[in-house]
Symmetry: C2
């Protein structure tokens, strides 16, 4: 545990604040059923959507294409995934595709999230430091009752994590040096990238994120400044009421 | 009154959400007294600080200098104002100058602000669409209990209002067309610039903003889509509980 408390907390959102996989899977089921594709496992469909996420962001970060928000990448990835499953996206029509894509706007918080964030907010500014765009983060916060002080991260920085600018632009916007900002995340790779930029780090364990399977980034595991099993436990560690 | 409700509300902050003049004046008084300058009227000092605001932003919007956040412009303007009053800013030292500059982080809401915003938020996403930077808006929201969904505006757009990009970038970030976003402001000039970009508009009267003197932008007065005497009255007009 670090001696000095941070001045603000930036949160990874997908998997850390909200249960991405269960929410996308549950919302994809009726769309697949309506297409007569009850044979497709909705959990695997959610995994397939997620698997296209990192390569799509990489093309932006490496300058192969201009920055576009995550809603746009998700939509492209959904259409690609549908085609892979033998479904022509045009069959669905624009409105249904958009509605399906917005499943990511309605991800449910983990059970301890709202209580934990509320306690943490009583002592620290709490900001979304996510790859999700503003419209998505606003909708998700209103859906789940997430009391963000601000929404920073990828769209603000015009770079996706794990690019250093995503972390550094967020610290600058808060008027902080990197070491005054703590990234809270369930992902070792995210925390490692933040640490490389000078941020301090808090790991929160989310064993159910991958449907019970092990996290893909265990190789990046380090000793983080703080480590907790939930947001409420993190609030305890950071001395919040 | 417009027939169609907006999908989100963007708020001007200085003067519309918070009582800029009284708060800056009250916080400047002890700094002036400590300098042995009880002869300087704190209200006039606040006016002098504000008078330097528009010309400073104009230099950014016209490309004479790169975008810098409002905290930086305020600090330069404070030093300029001190020199005009025969005070060498170096006399104060960095910490006191920064503390004085942060008076803008601690502006008090008008009496109806928090209740009105809370009611409006129950129906619409509410975002700061201000020239203030993120650090300033976060501090001010925590100081006054302003429940923003997101902080957009100048720092996000890298242009200051009345530049069209400040309005349009905020609408885009929310995933809205300009006509789906309503600017709420006490200033006709701000509302006129928003309308020129296609936004809808709500005027809220703040007769005490200029210490009881008439607003300087009455020439820009038009018939706005909504017009109210307070945020709670605006909440009534927009059908909020």
């Amino acid at each position: 545990m670090a001696d000095t408390l941070p001045k603000a907390l930036g949160f990874d959102v997908f998997g850390t604040v909200v249960d991405r996989r269960t929410s996308v899977s549950r919302q994809s089921r009726p769309f697949l059923d309506a297409l007569g594709r009850s044979d497709i496992d909705a959990g695997q469909f959610a995994d397939g959507w997620r698997a296209r996420y990192a390569p799509a962001m990489k093309r932006v970060n490496e300058g192969e294409r201009e920055f576009v928000v995550l809603d746009v990448l998700h939509r492209e990835n959904l259409e690609d995934l549908l085609r892979e499953n033998g479904i022509d996206p045009a069959e669905l029509g624009e409105d249904r595709l958009e509605e399906w894509n917005r499943a990511w706007h309605r991800l449910d918080p983990w059970p301890d999230t709202v209580e934990g964030l509320t306690r943490l907010k009583s002592k620290f500014p709490i900001v979304a430091l996510s790859n999700g765009n503003v419209a998505m983060m606003v909708a998700m916060a209103r859906h789940g009752g997430l009391p963000w002080d601000a929404i920073l991260g990828a769209e603000f920085a015009r770079f996706y994590k794990l690019h250093p600018r995503a972390y550094l632009a967020s610290a600058e916007a808060l008027g902080l040096s990197p070491s005054e900002l703590c990234l809270v995340a369930a992902h070792h790779s995210d925390l490692a990238a933040a640490r490389d930029c000078g941020l301090v780090t808090a790991y929160v364990d989310r064993p159910e994120e991958h449907g019970g399977r092990p996290a893909p980034d265990l190789h990046a595991k380090q000793e983080w400044e703080w480590s907790a099993g939930s947001f409420t436990e993190l609030a305890d560690l950071l001395g919040c009421d």
